[in-house]
């Protein structure tokens, strides 16, 4: 591969894998492990990386990003943990109901949008619920490097505390668990106060938690560059709408339960993507003309771009109005 900038293409390179383990952890969360179909080691990744899992759900292709939670030093397999979302669009339900040991699946090469700053003097991890998954890999990496870290992990109940026992047993002094049903909450201001200079904080969890950590750290004088977060937005259903794709000369309909990106792909037009969660910026698409309102849901475009309607992130954002033309 050359060092030249690569043309944006439809997703990262793909890997054919076999499901090597399916481990239910509690009522909502199940771990899935993948090995390469050809038996060789999987590509190297760094902690915080995710992979996009391709599901063939009765002819419909579902592509969901999941953080890789296994130890980055062990590339004999990748592990992801999937929280079942009964109200969701069906990807997690498909994983829980249909995926069995021995199944052949396709996943993408890992992409890291949430990497550790290894210059940091200390790492503070803040997880909410299933947001624990990237930290499982980060903790493995930090333990191997001998770096300083601590985890603050908020879960709903003891029964839903995914990996709480394993983490508390292995790292008793570093793991702090907070149970919602026992009215325990992370004392964030106290936690941020007095951390040594050069500490980095990482947060993965619900949007409210991420915003809270950013705002609290900023108010305490922390530089923005020392506060890292990752949130994959799920495409939300919405009213169907019609889009003209100029370059491809096609008019497509986006259904209520599919994303604009999925509708583009269904029409046979190749569109770039990586995270499918509004975070990476790969699917950024120019708007040629529009008459209506955008429903922007990404974390990539800035407020001006959201307001002026010049661009849209088709993986998570939608449109309501008379007409929309895209440069795709």
């Amino acid at each position: 591969m050359s060092a030249a900038p690569q043309k944006a293409k439809a997703g990262a390179e793909k890997i054919d894998v076999t499901v090597s383990a399916v481990v239910p952890l509690n009522e909502l969360v199940t771990r899935f492990e993948f090995k390469a179909k050809d038996g060789r080691d999987l590509p190297t990744f760094s902690a915080g990386a995710h992979t996009v899992v391709q599901m063939n759900d009765q002819g419909r292709t579902r592509l969901n990003p999941y953080s890789i939670m296994s130890d980055p030093a062990d590339t004999s397999h990748y592990a992801i943990s999937v929280r079942r979302d009964d109200e969701g669009r069906g990807g997690s339900l498909f994983m829980h109901r249909n995926v069995k040991v021995g199944d052949e699946m396709t996943i993408t090469f890992p992409v890291n949008l949430f990497s550790l700053d290894l210059r940091a003097r200390k790492q503070v991890f803040i997880a909410g619920g299933i947001g624990i998954t990237p930290f499982m890999a980060m903790i493995a990496q930090m333990e191997r490097l001998g770096g300083q870290w601590e985890l603050h992990y908020s879960v709903r109940t003891e029964a839903l505390g995914t990996y709480v026992q394993e983490l508390s047993y292995k790292h008793p002094g570093k793991v702090h668990v907070y149970y919602d049903d026992q009215s325990q909450a992370i004392a964030l201001e106290d936690l941020l106060d007095g951390q040594p200079l050069g500490t980095n904080v990482y947060v993965c969890g619900p949007k409210g938690m991420i915003d809270w950590v950013h705002a609290t750290a900023s108010a305490a004088g922390w530089p923005d560059a020392n506060v890292h977060s990752e949130e994959f937005t799920k495409p939300q259903p919405g009213k169907p709408f019609q889009v003209r794709l100029c370059k491809s000369d096609k008019v497509i309909d986006v259904g209520e339960h599919e994303s604009l990106l999925e509708a583009i792909e269904r029409s046979g037009v190749e569109a770039p993507f990586l995270c499918r969660g509004g975070a990476c910026g790969q699917c950024e698409t120019d708007v040629v003309s529009f008459d209506g309102d955008f429903i922007h849901r990404d974390h990539w475009l800035d407020d001006d771009q959201h307001a002026n309607g010049s661009k849209i992130m088709p993986c998570v954002s939608r449109f309501v109005g008379k007409s929309l033309e895209l440069d795709r």
């Binding site: 106060d193 200079l197 004088g221 923005d224």
Partner: protein
């Protein structure tokens, strides 16, 4: 707050805007022949230190940074050499350069590294200049190293020794 020479004026202006700032401030000042020390002391900062040179003050800067907690704000003002070197210390202590505030005051002299002998010449005000270590005639480049806190000086008469243009004062 770390300042040298006319950088004191920036601190005096800040204190005039927000006198409360001083109750939380630690000022490290290197006068470089100026007379701002008493005016800075009169601001009654939480801590005040005057050092005879940057080299003498760097021990204290390192100690302060090593003991500091997140939330510390670093403000550097004065010459480029002072700001660059102190920024380097702050970055090594874990503050991203984008979070360090700097305000240039006073001399426009550059801190130069000779690419040939690696020696640093402080307060260079002409281009070309003579390396204070190896004696080569050096051209003042705009290539700056954040790690070294210095601009790059390259031999100007390598092909034709002795053919050295008349030195010009920088930024004139």
């Amino acid at each position: 707050m770390i300042a040298d020479a006319e950088g004191a004026e920036a601190i005096l202006e800040l204190a005039a805007q927000d006198p409360d700032l001083m109750t939380k401030s630690h000022i490290i000042f290197i006068p470089k022949g100026t007379n701002y020390t008493q005016a800075l002391r009169d601001l009654k900062p939480a801590q005040f230190y005057e050092g005879p040179s940057y080299e003498a003050a760097v021990q204290r800067i390192r100690h302060v940074l090593a003991e500091a907690k997140m939330g510390l704000q670093v403000y550097l003002t004065g010459t480029e050499g002072l700001m660059g070197q102190a920024q380097n210390e702050a970055m090594q202590a874990g503050i991203p350069h984008s979070a360090i505030q700097t305000e240039h005051r006073g001399s426009v002299a550059r801190r130069m590294q000779c690419v040939h002998c690696k020696g640093i010449t402080e307060d260079v005000i002409t281009d070309p200049f003579v390396c204070s270590h190896c004696g080569l005639n050096l051209f003042v480049r705009d290539h700056y190293s954040r790690r070294l806190a210095a601009y790059q000086g390259v031999c100007i008469d390598a092909e034709d020794p002795g053919n050295v243009p008349e030195p010009q004062e920088l930024y004139t």
